[in-house]
């Protein structure tokens, strides 16, 4: 605190804290509403989807769905703001799409043979940014892309070559979807591999190894030509790649932030209203707010005419311990700057507010 005395330093404040008596893994705002859904599992091994509503400073559970398998992750990204269907992945590898109003599944398929660790959706609520698609990453080593309009089978499947060891895929996310054709999937694996798949050409565009298991990846925006990519790993490290400029040999320019004390960085999420600010949530319950500052020139061209990216700088705007246990999920609200919901392993769901983000 003492180092951030400026009047425009954002404050991260826990607005509502609500204890839930079971493990929770993910939380998502229901688009166009003051509600969010919390995804988790009960001690007996069943999965729950709980819908909460914020009413004058308090949250109230308005719906609960229980299923035989624990849920791990969910996304509204592939659904329109009117239908608002939640896609979930569970511990057994089932992908389900839910109509939360009617509490029924609209889509169910089990192509993964093990837990779905991560899910991301795209194309539901933006026009001219491609088909609605869901990507899932699983412990079975595969990354599958789904279209809710095609029943049962994935539209793309990225799996290791026969004979290779299957790595546990921990994180997936979409990006570069600035028109109907282009789309990229980034997948992070437990051995530190980070792979970038181009869905248009159906090829591996780029890969590297970050030395530690990749817990979370996110593009700063999904619906623009890819700009920045954040990948967080174990042991308190995270990387920010400038993915505008790809050098054929060196790949992308990156900034590495290392803070071993904070433990695993579980998740990184960009502010929807400002793509250069993002939050990271660490294993010690600390949230940090970062701003990426671009260099004067984002790329330079060498004497052979090949351009390569120039990394920028990271500035920490604020940090705050909000939980005693790791924070495993965080989502900013799309409609209100600075409002977020987060779940943690202390079995609490929190609504957090961050002030003065508009001044950054």
């Amino acid at each position: 605190m003492e180092e951030y005395d400026g009047l425009d330093t954002p404050q991260v404040i826990t607005h509502i804290e609500h204890n839930i008596n079971h493990s929770i893994f993910d939380c998502k705002w229901i688009p166009c509403s003051a509600k969010f859904v919390v995804i988790g599992s009960l001690p007996k091994g069943t999965g729950t989807l709980e819908v909460y509503e914020i009413t004058s400073g308090e949250i109230r559970k308005i719906k609960e769905i229980e299923r035989p398998n624990s849920f791990k992750c969910g996304t509204f990204g592939a659904s329109s703001d009117i239908e608002r269907r939640l896609a979930t992945g569970d511990f057994k590898g089932t992908l389900e799409i839910w109509d939360l109003e009617k509490s029924c599944q609209m889509y169910i398929t089990k192509e993964h043979t093990d837990i779905i660790n991560s899910i991301d959706g795209m194309g539901g609520n933006v026009n001219n940014c491609g088909a609605p698609e869901i990507v899932t990453g699983s412990r079975d080593g595969t990354v599958k892309v789904w279209d809710p309009r095609q029943r049962g089978k994935p539209v793309a499947n990225m799996q290791p070559v026969k004979g290779e060891t299957k790595r546990d895929c921990w994180a997936v996310s979409f990006g570069n979807s600035f028109n109907d054709a282009e789309r990229i999937v980034v997948a992070g694996y437990d051995n530190g591999d980070l792979k970038m798949f181009d869905l248009r050409t159906m090829s591996l565009r780029w890969e590297c190894n970050l030395k530690n298991g990749v817990c979370s990846t996110e593009f700063d925006r999904k619906d623009i030509p890819m700009n920045k990519l954040v990948a967080t790993t174990l042991e308190g490290k995270f990387h920010v790649f400038d993915v505008r400029t790809q050098n054929p040999t060196k790949g992308f320019a990156q900034v590495l932030n290392n803070d071993a004390k904070s433990g695993t960085i579980w998740v990184a999420r960009h502010v929807p209203q400002n793509r250069d600010i993002f939050v990271t949530c660490a294993g010690n319950g600390q949230v940090s707010l970062w701003k990426y500052e671009y260099p004067e020139h984002r790329y330079h061209v060498d004497h052979q005419g090949v351009s390569s990216g120039v990394p920028g700088k990271l500035k920490r705007l604020q940090r705050m311990v909000v939980s005693s246990q790791p924070i495993n999920a965080w989502e900013w609200n799309r409609d209100h700057l600075g409002l977020a919901v987060a779940t943690a392993y202390d079995q609490c769901v929190r609504v957090l507010i961050t002030t003065k983000l508009n001044l950054q």
Binding site: D5, L7, Q11, I13, H15, C32, S33, A34, I54, T55, S56, G57, S80, D81, I82, E83, G123, N127, G130, A131, P132, E133, V145, D147, R149, Q150, K153, V155, A156, D180, A181, L199, D335, H336, G338, L339, I353, T355, K356
Partner: protein
């Protein structure tokens, strides 16, 4: 010391910031709940095809293309080449099959947009009341973005610009509004003001003339026009504003603004000329009826006054009442036939009752005016009364009662058939307040037809949930009841208790 002060200042600042954030959050909550409520219904999007499907199509394309290519030297093939078809194919490629199914929910989408625009307009109007012109303008901007063809939004935005002295913008907004609705008086007036202040006096006076053509008694416009004329001064002597003040009888358009004088207050759609024929019945095009449109207003803007009941008269669709008054001859004609269904009042019921009435009068039907038929039906009813049987239930009662409207003798006759003690069982829960007041009038005016009118009153009062019906009794009904009860007391030797009990039940 300085440091302490700084920290305090910082803390205070943070608290303040947090407070404003909290109020923001509450607004957001309310906004979200409203948005969510607005979000139901079908939704469709033009989406690109499923990825795996594209893959299948791709290899087909390169195969096809070489086939279609015709060598430059192959003249016979070129002769057969259908250029039109090729062009069509290319066009279709652009459109694609996916965009065709997006049309289904077009109507619903439009509806939703309109609602949203309406909301923005309401917000804009409240800003106008607070004289916050810039906020109001941004609200109207959004409304216009959502619905581009509503004159009101333009005219209102024009007003804001006018207030802000952005006269050119005001003028162009009003012009746009008038393009959409040429009879929009307020837009004309606003444009006139804008033009006057811009100095184009002739154009302003022209607008005002238009206003006066539409609303001859618009004093504000008249005053403004006179002011302009004096400003035009010497030049004004030859001004063209000739037919201004005295509207000539052939000024037909007067009728139009009368139909919709409060265009700003009502969220109805602008007068669009090109309506689909299939929708004619909705809008009542070509029929002599007034169409009541649903008014969509958010709950907080609705009137707090109680709802007024409007008697509903059933009219056959597509049937017109003749414009000319009927001639005597026609009445005679009909009486001969005794077979006309009423063209205005629902004749289906009547057909049921009068077995004789059939389709043979179909031809004359269109000629028959409501008055003439009324005469006929009255005659028929009085004849038919002898055949009336006391109703067993309310449905039966209503089917007979319906076309006795206004014929007090027939009504009295019919009621006298009903056993008073059976009234509660006949009507059960279905007695209508209009029937009650009719009966009161009948009992009052046709006293000689009834034996024991108190019994009737008591019977009606014993109908289930009568207390609710009693609340609907009008002042005149109650007056009639009081005199009726006085009368009964004397003629039927009722005890004071009975009368007091009835008075109590009828809430006198």
């Amino acid at each position: 010391m300085d440091k302490v002060f700084q920290i305090q200042n910082q803390a205070r600042n943070n608290v303040k910031e947090l407070q404003t954030y909290m109020t923001d959050l509450q607004n957001w909550e309310a906004e979200m709940k409203r948005k969510e409520a607005a979000l139901n219904g079908a939704f469709e999007q033009d989406l690109p095809p499923v990825r795996s499907k594209i893959k299948k199509e791709k290899p087909v394309v390169p195969k096809k293309k070489p086939e279609q290519k015709i060598k430059g030297s192959d003249y016979s093939a070129w002769d057969k080449y259908d250029v039109d078809k090729a062009c069509e194919d290319i066009d279709m490629e652009d459109v694609g099959p996916t965009s065709l199914d997006g049309k289904k929910s077009q109507q619903a989408k439009l509806e939703k947009l309109k609602e949203e625009a309406q909301y923005e307009k309401e917000r804009g109007n409240t800003f106008v009341k607070q004289e916050k012109w810039d906020e109001a303008i941004s609200c109207y901007n959004r409304a216009i973005e959502l619905v581009k063809d509503d004159a009101i939004y333009y005219a209102n935005r024009g007003l804001c610009y006018l207030k802000k002295d952005s006269l050119h913008q005001a003028e162009s907004d009003c012009s746009e509004a008038l393009r959409l609705d040429p009879t929009y008086v307020k837009a004309l007036q606003r444009r006139a003001t804008a033009r006057e202040r811009l100095g184009s006096l002739r154009a302003a006076s022209h607008d005002l003339n238009e206003v006066l053509k539409l609303e001859p008694h618009n004093t504000a416009a008249r005053k403004q026009l006179e002011a302009i004329k004096t400003r035009m001064g010497t030049k004004g002597a030859k001004s063209k504003s000739s037919p201004v003040t005295t509207p000539t009888p052939e000024n037909k358009p007067i009728v139009k603004p009368k139909m919709q004088p409060k265009i700003v207050e009502l969220p109805s759609e602008p007068a669009v000329a090109g309506q689909l024929i299939a929708d004619d019945w909705r809008t009542g095009v070509g029929e002599n009826i007034m169409v009541i449109k649903p008014v969509k207003k958010p709950p907080h803007l609705r009137s707090k006054r109680p709802l007024k009941s409007i008697p509903i008269q059933e009219v056959l669709l597509g049937e017109k009442t003749p414009e000319k008054p009927p001639t005597r001859l026609k009445i005679v004609d009909i009486e001969d036939n005794l077979s006309q269904g009423d063209s205005n009042n629902n004749d289906s019921n009547k057909k049921d009752i009068h077995g004789k009435i059939d389709a043979c009068g179909e031809g004359e039907k269109k000629v028959a005016s409501p008055e003439s038929v009324k005469l006929v039906s009255e005659a028929i009813i009085t004849e038919k009364i002898k055949n009336f049987v006391p109703p067993i239930n309310s449905v039966q009662f209503m089917s007979e009662w319906k076309y006795m409207k206004g014929q007090w003798d027939a009504m009295a006759e019919y009621w006298s058939l009903i056993e008073p003690s059976k009234i509660p069982s006949i009507f059960a829960n279905a007695l209508e307040s209009s029937v009650v007041s009719d009966v009161i009038q009948v009992l009052h005016s046709r006293r000689d037809k009834f034996r024991g009118r108190t019994a009737y009153l008591a019977g009606i009062a014993n109908v289930p949930r009568f207390s609710a019906l009693a609340m609907f009794l009008s002042h005149t009904d109650k007056q009639m009841l009081t005199t009726l009860l006085e009368d009964c007391k004397q003629s039927e030797n009722c005890t004071d208790e009975v009368i007091a009990d009835l008075k109590n039940k009828y809430e006198l």
